[in-house]
Amino acid sequence: MNERIGLLEPPTELELPPEVMERHLRLLRQAVTAPAPTKRWRRPSRRLLWVAAALALVAAGAVAAATKAGLFDRVVTRADLDARVTSGARTSDGVLFVDPDGRYISVVPAESGGGFDPASPYGRQLFRSLESRGENGENAQTTIELPGGGTRTIRWKRGEGTLTVTDEHADGTTATTTLRSGDVVPLVPGSLRDQPLTPDKAVTFELELRPDYGYSLWIYPQRNEAYVATPPWTESAKATAVADEDVLREVVRRFALSTGADRHRAVPIDGTGGRWTFSLADGTIRTVTWNAGDRWVTVTDRAPSGAIHGEEVLPIGTRVFAG
C-alpha cells in the first residue's frame, strides 16, 4: 500500500548510516547477552554509608546498621570489562568491592578514601597499600595479586571522582574498566561465581527509614527470589544480620513488603516474576517488576492519577535507595 495523501507526502526513505547500524547491533547483542544497564535513581550516598554502618556495628553494636553492613557484589567478567566503557568523571559516591569471603570494601574516589570490614584481610591490604604510598592526595592506586597469577590494580583520582580497575592476566592480556557510583564488584574476579545468592546477582534496594537506618532488600530476578534484612549469601554475611524486629516491622510497613513465612519472597512473587509496589512521600507510586529469569528489574513511577512519569531498568549488581 503506497497510497499518496496529497500534500502530506513524506520524504523518500533513507538507509540507516552504516556506523549507526553497527552501533545498534552492538547494543542489541549486549542486550541479549547482558542486561541493559541504566540508572536513574538517587545513588547511594557518597558518604561512607557502609563503612559507617560497619564501624557502628563494631563500636556500638548498632543493630540496624549491622544489617546494612551489606556485602554488595557484581562479578566483573572479561565481557563486562570489555562492554563497560569509561563515561567520564563522577565526583561523588563510592564503589563497593566484595572480597572472596563476602566482606565489603568501600572506595570513594571523590574522597580518595573509603573503608572496609575490619575482618577483611583484603581490605587491610588494600588500604595499607594506599597509606604506605602516602597517596591521600589527588591520585591513588593499589594492587592485589590474583589467583593463578596476574594482578588487579585499582586506581582513583580524587579530583575526578573516577575509579578504574585494570586486570593484568598471567597471559599478558589486560583489561580496564571504569566503575561508577553504585557499582558493586568482586574484589577478586570470579571468586563469587559459584555462590548463587551473592549480591552481584541481585538488585539491591536500600529501605531507609532515615539516613543510615533501615534494612536492605535483595531481589534476584534470575532466581525469582527476594530477601529482606538478612543477607542470604555467605554465613559470615548472615552472621552480621541481627534483625531488630521493631525496625523490621516499620520497614515492612513503610515499603509494603510481604510478611509471609517464605523468607525468599519478601515482595509479591509468583511463577512468572515479581511485582512490588509502594508509595513515596510525594505521592509517587513506585512499582518494581521483573520476569523470572531476567537479569534486571524495571522501576516505574506513576503519579496518583496513574500517569507514568518515570521508568528505568536496573541491572543486577546495582544498588539504589528504594525511595
Binding site: G6, L7, A31, S87, T298
Partner: protein, 202 residues
C-alpha cells in the same frame, strides 16, 4: 550471523531472540531497522532522534519479550507499535534512550556521512513542513496515516501495531483522509513558508 538466520521467518527469529540468541535479534534488526528508522524520522522529524529511538524500539522489544504474545508473523508490526509509543513519548523516550546508549556504548550519536548530509537536511526540512500540516489531525489519525500511508503497513498490521481492531484502523484512516481534504488549503498555506516546498506543491 549465518544463512540460518537470514532465511528464517520473523517469528522463528523472535523465538530464538527470546531464548537468548543475539544473532537472531541482529537479523530482526537488519530486516526491520530501516523501516522503523524512517518511520520514526517521519514521526519526529529529526534523524538523530530517529537513530536513538530506533535502538530503543529494539531494546524495548527485548525488555518486554516475556510480557507479550506476538501474533504469528506480526513481529514487525509489533516493532512499529513500540515505535509509535516511543514517538508519542518522545522526550522521555529520548532521555531514557540516550542514557542507555551512553551507558552501553559510551558513544555519542553517530553523524551521517558527508555524502548523506544534504539529502538528510533536505528531508528534514521537508518533513518539518509535513509534520506541521499533520499536526492538525488528532494523534490517532496521525498514527494510521504514518503507519498505513507512509510506512505501507496493511490495515491488519496497523491494527496489531496500535492494538485496535482493523475496523478502527479503517475508520480512522477514512476520517483522516476527509480531514486532510478539508485541511489542504490551510496546510498548503502553512507550508508556504518554505519556498522550495511551495514550489513542489504548485
Amino acid at each position: 550471523m549465518g544463512d540460518r538466520s537470514a532465511g528464517e521467518a520473523d517469528s522463528v527469529l523472535w523465538t530464538r531472540t527470546v531464548e537468548g540468541d543475539p544473532d537472531a535479534f541482529a537479523e530482526l534488526y537488519r530486516r526491520h531497522g530501516k523501516r522503523i528508522y524512517n518511520y520514526l524520522f517521519r514521526r519526529v522529524g529529526d534523524w538523530s532522534e530517529a537513530e536513538d529511538l530506533t535502538a530503543s524500539v529494539f531494546l524495548e522489544a527485548y525488555r518486554r519479550r516475556h510480557e507479550v504474545a506476538i501474533p504469528e508473523e506480526k513481529v514487525g508490526a509489533w516493532f512499529f507499535g513500540i515505535a509509535t509509543n516511543l514517538a508519542h513519548n518522545r522526550r522521555r523516550s529520548l532521555r531514557s534512550a540516550r542514557r542507555l546508549l551512553e551507558r552501553l556504548a559510551g558513544a555519542v550519536s553517530a553523524r551521517p556521512g558527508e555524502s548523506d548530509a544534504s539529502a538528510r537536511a533536505e528531508a528534514r526540512e521537508q518533513m518539518g513542513a509535513v509534520l506541521a500540516a499533520m499536526s492538525a489531525l488528532p494523534r490517532e489519525q496521525q498514527d494510521v496515516v504514518a503507519l498505513c500511508l507512509w510506512s505501507g503497513l496493511s490495515y491488519e498490521d496497523a491494527a496489531v501495531a496500535l492494538s485496535i481492531p482493523i475496523g478502527t484502523v479503517r475508520s480512522r484512516l477514512s476520517r483522516a483522509r476527509a480531514a486532510l481534504a478539508e485541511l489542504e488549503p490551510g496546510s498548503r498555506h502553512g507550508i508556504s513558508q518554505n519556498q522550495e516546498v511551495e514550489e513542489l506543491l504548485r
